[in-house]
């Protein structure tokens, strides 16, 4: 159990999906400067990440050993289908939640974090449970980065930044600073 927890914390902090591994940058840049939206986007991502991790584990165990070159295609097809299914299920089960998530759900398909998770998990050779904790940690880390960025951006709305500097340039510099800060987590688990 401790081993699994280690994987989770490592994926969340030490090798944060967004700030260290460069996954999930599209939502990261595009997320509005609002913490509430960031939380919802992050939550949706965590959900899709965990399901994808499970599907990827199954694919890796039972299907792909026979055709390793079909990995990319099978992963992306599964992800696209999963997102479609999740969207339909949410619409039926909870229309309010569906309305709140809005455009985010289809956006998740092209989120490199989802496919990236499937591939990293495969490369590291994680089994089902390890992959699941990896996905959870990664999703939490992604949400953490999103929320941090959104809260900083909410702050910058009311500060004295020259108009010219506002926009994506600022977001990226902030992201760089966050990435630097997260470097402090490295070495957390070494004896």
């Amino acid at each position: 159990m401790g081993e699994l927890f280690l994987i989770l914390i490592s994926a969340m902090l030490v090798n944060n999906f967004t700030l260290v591994l460069f996954l999930g940058l599209c939502p990261f840049m595009g997320v509005s400067g609002k913490v509430s939206t960031a939380l919802r986007m992050g939550g949706a991502n965590i959900f899709v990440l965990t399901i994808t991790s499970m599907a990827a584990s199954l694919l890796n165990a039972y299907v792909l050993p026979y055709a390793p070159y079909l990995r990319v295609i099978s992963f992306i097809v599964v992800i696209a289908s999963l997102v479609q299914i999740v969207e339909t299920v949410i619409r039926k089960v909870s229309p309010t939640l569906f309305r709140e998530l809005g455009i985010f759900l289809p956006l998740i398909t092209t989120n490199c974090a989802i496919l990236g998770l499937a591939i990293f998990q495969t490369n590291k050779g994680y089994d089902f449970m390890e992959g699941l904790f990896f996905a959870l940690g990664g999703g939490l880390g992604l949400t953490l980065a999103l929320v941090l960025m959104a809260s900083i951006r909410e702050q910058t709305e009311v500060t004295d930044i020259p108009a010219m500097a506002r926009g994506m340039g600022l977001v990226l510099i902030l992201a760089g600073s966050l990435s630097l800060a997260f470097m402090g987590f490295a070495g957390m688990f070494s004896s």
Binding site: M29, G30, S32, Y69, L107, A186, S191
Partner: protein, 251 residues
């Protein structure tokens, strides 16, 4: 304030004036599934063809990299043979099942005279940033490490990556006694089993040493058993001509 427009969010009607029928016809489900199936089949075919072409080159490269690493950490070997561990923890020449992971194998190196030179072992463990994977050569008779080579590492460039790039550090692993003692620079006492850690990269250095010690502790007995049994068969083979072997075992 999303500046980026997702291409999929655009209206499926497209632009007026570009190529496209003015009236949309609903395609039947049969056509939908049929199109995707055909496309999928063609895609699969293309990939399989490219894979057939690419596979020999990929495997050749991987075998070459492994052979080079084994030779390097054993201080020079004419050929190597892969030896697999079975369920009882005994090393055998044949794999038990096809899906043996690389950690359950060792590589026995032979010189030109077909004398066994040493055993190359792979090990991996978390370092500072991510997992470090290395291969090291082990001499079961002298109980010494013969050499070390880092295979995969994502340590901090300029600091942790010195475990690969700093030849002073790497050369300490040539003929060092097990179990290795890590010491800080300036505190060495000149013992056979000491390795001085890299200043500013002690965690990465320590991880390397710990990987080796961990694998040695784990495997010294099975390796010893196999080595001694091999010693007997080598003596036998001096009577009979050695069997012709293909250069390099299965990776």
């Amino acid at each position: 304030m999303t500046e980026q427009k997702l291409p999929m969010a655009e209206s499926p009607q497209g632009g007026v004036g570009t190529a496209g029928p003015p009236v949309e016809v609903e395609a039947s489900s049969f056509r939908l599934v049929g199109t995707l199936t055909v496309a999928g089949a063609l895609a699969g075919l293309a990939i399989v063809l490219v894979f057939q072409w690419a596979r020999p080159q990929i495997e050749a490269y991987q075998a070459r990299v492994l052979a080079e690493a084994v030779t390097e950490v054993l201080g020079g070997a004419a050929r190597y043979q892969t030896v697999f561990m079975d369920e009882d923890g005994v090393y055998k020449d044949q794999p038990v099942a096809d899906t043996a992971t690389i950690e359950e194998r060792i590589y026995v190196g032979y010189d030109e005279a077909e004398n066994p030179v040493g055993v190359a072992v792979v090990g991996a463990k978390a370092g500072f940033q991510d997992v470090i994977r290395l291969i090291f050569g082990y001499d079961p008779d002298a109980r010494e490490v013969m050499g070390m080579k880092v295979l995969e590492s994502r340590e901090t460039p300029g600091l942790g990556d010195k475990i690969e790039k700093d030849s002073t550090f790497v050369n300490q692993f040539v003929r060092v006694a097990t179990l290795i003692q890590a010491v800080k620079k300036g505190r060495e006492r000149g013992l056979d089993e000491e390795v001085v850690m890299i200043t500013g990269a002690t965690i990465s250095s320590k991880a390397v040493i710990e990987i080796i010690n961990m694998r040695v502790e784990e495997l010294e007995d099975p390796i010893g058993t196999y080595w001694n049994s091999m010693g007997a068969s080598v003596a036998e083979q001096e009577e009979t001509p050695p069997p012709t072997t293909v250069g390099g075992g299965a990776p």
